[in-house]
Symmetry: C3
Subunit: 154 residues, 3 copies
């Protein structure tokens, strides 16, 4: 693909945020061998948690989808920092997705597609990852979603 | 062991299904280095989700156990596809297991043994994996279980 | 750091337990390449599950924090066994943390800091790991927490 990842983000009206700090006694990202893994990322903008509540109750599934896209941007910012630029990512290999779900809400795949489709848009075939998407009764700080990414570098 | 894995499956009255398609914007399996990881697999037969409901409520723990075995067969079909045959699997290394649980149901290990015991039956000592087994209030499409496998290839 | 890990544990009034047996058809720990991963560990002392109940309901968040520290000690005992001594651990790379949470309890990060802070105390910068911390409605045997560790060895 001839466009840079930054240009593809811009086409979507998005930009890479600053990589969020950890909200606990851990690190937000690290590299082991040729793998980079992030900690669980929340749908924050700066220090503000933008999507709070249970999907299927206080939040619609569209809200959940947007929350997943936002958390994914934060995870990408972590990968960018650890890899010295997203262009150094060979492939996204895994998304671990948790959706704070109201009882009876079973569309976790739809919600996590907000993240997965962004990855495929940005990285093309190299963004095609494995994932799990599950529901939780509660997530940290009442966040709508939490997700972590694993990527491969050269 | 002198029997093939296909023969051991047959002895149990089971056979490897076609590897299910992803139900979202991701891939069902990939290889990185000598690791193969699947996406979360559901207890489906073809396109039909066979075990729906919460274990401990609509479903018994025996149902849950059968659901885990079925989801595990789907995960094995993914490994088979990615490895070019289950005989190429050196070892199963991890099972990530989620059980859609009614309030008060705490036998997730019993449920996930439906998958774990199948793995050990098929692969012997090379099927002895690590795992987590946890409860979720909701899973995609009201599935009883979701599980992912990691395996090592040569 | 000049102290041994055993000495640092002792300073905290803690000691490494015997590595718990698996509570199902799996193994508690294994090594693949230079990675060691544990199965999900519970807050047990010997065969007794010490912290039962939902955090935010039967258990306070301080209880949850102590449960996470205890489960982490069990995970460290597994790493010790697999690595032939904790001194052979190059780095702790990941903590997968599940907190059995009452509805409305959203301080999973506080709870999991009971594990994360122990890791950093023992391993210094080499204990700085990635993690996810999420809530579950139910966990095996009504355990307050379940957690798994991944570590790198030379």
């Amino acid at each position: 693909m001839s466009q840079t990842i930054a240009e593809r983000l811009q086409d979507l009206g998005l930009e890479l945020p600053h990589a969020p700090e950890a909200v606990g006694a851990y690190v937000p990202v690290l590299r082991t061998g040729n793998l980079i893994m992030t900690s669980g990322q929340l749908p924050t903008i700066g220090k503000e948690l933008t999507f709070q509540g249970k999907v299927g109750q206080q939040l619609t599934k569209e809200d959940g989808r947007n929350a997943a896209q936002l958390a994914c941007l934060n995870a990408l910012a972590q990968l960018d920092k650890a890899a010295g630029g997203l262009e150094n990512i060979v492939r996204i290999i895994r998304l671990e997705g948790f959706v704070q779900s109201a009882d009876g809400f079973t569309e976790q795949p739809y919600v996590m597609n907000g993240a997965s489709e962004l990855l495929i848009h940005l990285f093309g075939d190299h963004g095609r990852h494995t994932r799990f998407a599950v529901g939780c009764n509660e997530l940290p700080l009442n966040a709508a979603v939490e997700l972590a990414l694993w990527a491969e570098v050269a």
